[in-house]
């Protein structure tokens, strides 16, 4: 987490966008410091992708102002384009070219020259573990490989600000870990990352600051800790062998919520060791046997629910 005062990489005020009558972004303000990771979090249809498309100069906007890497989005789109890199939700690689040719294509478009372009391509292939597949057509790549190639293509031009629109959606856990590691390395090298995700865990894991977007409005902005603080949801879950045990425990513990079907109790708790010890002591004194115990610290799902009044899309439906 960078605490030193730094300049704004992305500064947005009052950004608005409608498609016809449908308001997609209803006046958003964002300030992303250089060299940090910022995550825009929200369910499907919240407007995340629209925000990325606007900030990456792909589509216009109806109101507000935005500066990216010091350049005005509306006035100097080419200067913005020269400073940014974008990796979208669906890999934009050229299927009829090999991995290496894809990277050389990007190098050519950045006017790197033949020797420098080849060197850059080789370096990125190596970094993204694609050297072996370098001469194979991108159409033969697995999902994870395509995503890595996509990001490698974005990095050819050494962008200072990188937009990642749901970079790990649809990836297997191992590929997701690799992507996270790459993002951390990029930030360590001074790049600013603007990441959208519907995975709360991902924002928690990577972001210095998180903004929660719901129906075109920002409902909260802060560090992951700030967002989690003060949000109810931390509890200990106890499961019992039979209804008698459940009844006895409910009597002994008092203020709990119970689920008769699952034979579980939810006891509000911060999940700390002293609290757990006290809880177990009380159960022991009442001679109640507990089959299973699990600790739930408040996560961003709880945050999301508390802020918007509805669960996040990731919980509603697994894609």
């Amino acid at each position: 987490m960078t605490s030193a005062p730094s300049r704004s990489a992305i500064a947005v005020t009052g950004l608005r966008k409608s498609f016809g009558d449908k308001v997609v972004l209803d006046g958003i303000d964002l300030d992303v410091r250089e060299g940090t990771t910022f995550s825009l979090l929200g369910p499907n249809g919240a407007g995340k992708t629209t925000a990325v498309r606007i900030l990456s100069t792909l589509i216009g906007f109806d109101g507000g102002q935005a500066r990216i890497a010091g350049h005005d989005l509306a006035e100097e789109p080419d200067a913005v384009r020269a400073a940014i890199g974008v990796t979208g939700q669906f890999s934009a690689v050229d299927d009829l070219l090999t991995g290496e040719e894809n990277l050389v294509l990007m190098a050519d478009l950045h006017h790197l020259g033949r020797a420098e372009g080849g060197r850059r391509a080789a370096e990125l292939l190596d970094r993204f573990d694609l050297t072996e597949a370098a001469t194979k057509l991108a159409s033969t790549y697995s999902g994870g490989m395509r995503r890595r190639l996509d990001l490698a293509m974005t990095l050819v031009g050494d962008p200072r600000v990188i937009f990642l629109d749901e970079p790990t959606t649809g990836l297997d856990p191992r590929s997701r870990r690799m992507m996270w590691q790459t993002i951390r390395e990029l930030v360590a090298s001074g790049v600013t990352i603007f990441l959208t995700t519907q995975y709360l865990e991902e924002a928690d894991e990577l972001a210095d600051r998180i903004a929660v977007l719901d129906r075109g409005k920002l409902v909260a902005v802060g560090t992951p800790e700030e967002l989690k603080r003060g949000v109810p949801g931390g509890h200990v879950r106890l499961r019992f062998g039979d209804a008698a045990g459940l009844d006895a425990a409910a009597r002994a513990l008092g203020d709990v919520s119970r689920d008769d079907e699952a034979l579980t109790l939810q006891v509000p708790s911060d999940g700390g060791v002293p609290a757990l010890r006290a809880l177990l002591d009380r159960l022991e004194r009442a001679a109640i046997e507990v089959d299973e115990l699990s600790v739930h610290t408040p996560d961003l799902d709880d945050v999301f629910f508390a802020l918007t009044g509805h669960p996040s899309a990731a919980k509603e439906a697994v894609r």
Binding site: F19, T57, L96, L97, L109
Partner: protein, 255 residues
């Protein structure tokens, strides 16, 4: 400019990777050539009279088949542009500081070159089948120029169609029109033998003067005012395709 060259190189590489598209572009006209010359030619030729051409049906039909070759080439381009659009690679190019239209220019130049190459191969096959053109070098040059201009015009239209269609299937109306219009022109039979409404249509559609001009150039027969009409149509189609494609490309891709 260098961005357009990069895009053109990408386009040629695509063609080499995907030879199927070229084979289709050449294969269909060759099949038509065989069909019309070997199967239907005898009967059709009887109705033509020998005034319009040297006498052999193949000499009459080659110009029409060449035009269809150009049409198939353009259809391939429409699908290629559409693939670029739907795969998101055009979105990637748009977020880069490169000449905006370079990707379209690359497609058009690549498509035109590919089509001229295809038509040359079809002419080769026609020669093997007994096509005996009577053109002098100047007329050959003019014929190549006309094919190139037509290829350019249809390529720009194809780019626009590729940008417009939401899926590859969406380009099929264009393919259909390009394949159907030659049948309603002087490509295979003289419009004089058609029913009145079709004859009227054939007289005013763009492909008739283009085919007549091409045939005149190849066979050394008189062209009359078809030449001017052919050039005018090509220029109009090219300009319309270019402006349409440019407008579509500049439009917010808000989907």
């Amino acid at each position: 400019m260098s961005d357009a060259v990069t895009m053109l190189r990408r386009n040629f590489r695509h063609t080499l990777r995907n030879p199927g598209s070229v084979i289709m572009t050449i294969g269909m006209p060759v099949v038509l050539l065989l069909l019309f010359v070997g199967v239907l030619g005898g009967a059709l030729n009887a109705g033509l009279g020998t005034a319009a051409h040297g006498g052999d049906y193949i000499d009459y039909v080659v110009a029409g088949v060449l035009l269809m070759t150009v049409g198939y080439g353009a259809s391939t381009t429409a699908m290629a542009v559409n693939r670029d659009m739907t795969s998101g690679i055009i979105a990637r190019f748009r977020t880069m500081a490169i000449s905006r239209a370079s990707v379209l220019t690359g497609h058009v130049i690549g498509s035109t070159a590919r089509t001229v190459f295809s038509t040359a191969l079809v002419v080769g096959v026609a020669l093997l089948l007994g096509f005996r053109p009577a053109a002098d070098p100047v007329r050959w040059l003019a014929a190549v120029g006309l094919v190139a201009l037509l290829a350019l015009a249809l390529s720009w239209l194809a780019v626009a169609v590729g940008l417009l269609a939401r899926t590859a299937e969406g380009t099929s109306p264009f393919v259909l029109v390009v394949q159907l219009l030659p049948f309603l022109s002087s490509a295979f039979v003289s419009p004089d033998s058609m029913s009145a409404p079709v004859r009227w249509f054939a007289a005013y559609e763009p492909f008739t003067p283009i085919i007549d001009t091409l045939r005149g150039l190849l066979l050394g027969t008189p062209i009359n005012d078809s030449g001017v009409a052919a050039l005018a149509w090509c220029v109009v189609l090219a300009l319309a395709g270019y402006l349409w494609a440019r407008a579509l490309f500049r439009r917010d891709p808000s989907r």
